[in-house]
């Protein structure tokens, strides 16, 4: 398992955040975006599913649940991207990722959960592989498309009355942090045409211009295959 400093820091920093991440995992991408937005330096520790790192003893001792992404801050270990983000938001209030206004805040929560509960879990590789192996490869693609379509349609409806430059207004908030990994590169991976989703297509174009998102992209991570 590789342990590389994210920036070229020479000195050891015991209190530095550590992110156990996989370049391709959308929730890992989300956490990287949030860390970048808040200007938080961190050590990137690769967890390669291909190599079975998630079953590695050292990893499991630190994080018995074996989940990726996981954030470590001294003795504090947090898994589950939405929980990590809520933790970061409270611990490091700079560049707030939730609006003050309760109604807008709640739109962010709803967007996060459309992604986290109705898209992410059913699009995970183990689920797609099960369908491919038990039904067929075509069904696996259809399944992915169906659920992407459903989730994206719900997001279009949710954001219709709230979208500004970003998902819920003119600042980046958690809704954007969760959406970006599913709009950048992800539809292409499944041959899914995003163009029918006007709000989401426009958001994707905006996200591609944000440095914190650019630097969090899979291609920029130490474990991206060369």
């Amino acid at each position: 398992m590789d342990s590389k400093a994210h920036k070229n820091n020479i000195e050891e920093s015991p209190m530095k955040l550590q992110l156990y991440s996989s370049y391709i995992s959308p929730p890992s991408f989300s956490v990287r975006i949030a860390l970048n937005l808040k200007g938080l330096d961190y050590d990137y520790i690769t967890v390669s599913f291909r190599k079975g790192d998630q079953r590695n003893q050292e990893f499991l001792m630190m994080n018995p649940m074996g989940y990726v992404p996981t954030l470590k801050n001294g003795d504090m270990v947090v898994a589950e991207s939405s929980a990590i983000l809520m933790y970061l938001e409270e611990k490091y209030p700079q560049h707030p990722l939730l609006p003050q206004d309760l109604e807008k805040k709640t739109i962010n929560y709803q967007a996060i959960n459309i992604v986290a509960s109705s898209m992410q879990p059913i699009l995970r590789i183990p689920v797609l592989s099960y369908i491919r192996d038990n039904v067929g490869p075509d069904e696996s693609i259809d399944w992915a498309h169906r659920h992407l379509k459903k989730g994206f349609a719900a997001l279009e409806k949710l954001l219709k009355d709230h979208v500004g430059t970003y998902a819920t207004g003119d600042e980046i908030f958690l809704a954007d942090v969760f959406l970006a990994p599913y709009l950048i590169g992800y539809p292409e991976r499944y041959n899914f045409d995003l163009s029918g989703f006007l709000i989401l297509s426009k958001l994707r174009d905006v996200y591609l211009m944000v440095p914190a998102i650019q630097n969090a992209m899979p291609e920029k991570q130490p474990d991206f295959p060369v």
């Binding site: 018995p64 649940m65 809520m86 959960n113 689920v127 038990n134």
Partner: protein
């Protein structure tokens, strides 16, 4: 709380929805009056679709505010109606609550809900329905059992009921009574289930005859 000033909340619900049960528990704990509207076919229900085009249940109406998704609704309720706090003050235990909520709402419930298991039954085999549900619930429970080992007391994260318990109680009901999961390797979760069954309001809300 000044009851005269409280708008009556409206909850669009479904009797078998574990997501809705989380909300019934929360509304009950916070002492909030609400009207419960059970919806059989959310996507074909005109009253629901009028206020919530996404057609999801549960959905909460609070005056002019409409919210769907149980986790979003819970966080909204927590901020708008702070009585009987659903999150501990300290960030460590608060984060454990967020992790439990996320594991249940992202890793477990979506993979054992009616739509998914009916799909599995149809395209793979009816015999695969229960094993599929058990597999995914078990994976989530393995993680939960490890997560809670240093925090569980009378309830999931201490001696008070918090957000984690609202997610766990309905999920445990599904696991044990609907899917007959073997709970031998989950002593903490079993103990929590027993504790939940001793709370009259939990019993009423969760132990619903199908």
């Amino acid at each position: 709380m000044d009851e005269a000033n409280q708008t009556i909340l409206k909850l669009f619900s479904h009797p078998m929805s574990s997501c809705a049960r989380r909300l019934h528990l929360a509304l009950n704990l916070k002492g909030l009056e609400y009207e419960c509207i059970n919806v059989d076919n959310p996507l074909e229900d005109p009253e629901l679709l009028k206020i919530n085009p996404m057609g999801f249940v549960p959905a909460l109406v609070d005056g002019t505010t409409v919210i769907s998704d149980s986790y979003a609704i819970l966080l909204y309720l927590e901020e708008k109606y702070p009585q009987h706090a659903l999150l501990p003050e300290d960030l460590v235990r608060k984060s454990i609550n967020y992790q439990v909520a996320s594991i249940v709402s992202s890793s477990i419930q979506p993979l054992q809900n009616t739509n998914i298991i009916n799909y599995i039954s149809e395209v793979v085999s009816p015999d695969e329905k229960v094993p599929w549900a058990q597999y995914h619930i078990k994976n989530g429970f393995v993680a939960l059992e490890k997560l809670l080992v240093n925090y569980a007391a009378k309830y999931a994260t201490g001696d008070e009921i918090y957000l984690a318990d609202l997610f766990l109680a309905p999920q445990l009901y599904n696991a044990i009574y609907l899917f007959k999961l073997d709970m031998t390797e989950f002593p903490i979760l079993l103990k929590l289930n027993k504790a939940y069954n001793e709370i009259p309001s939990f019993q009423q809300i969760i132990m619903v005859e199908s």
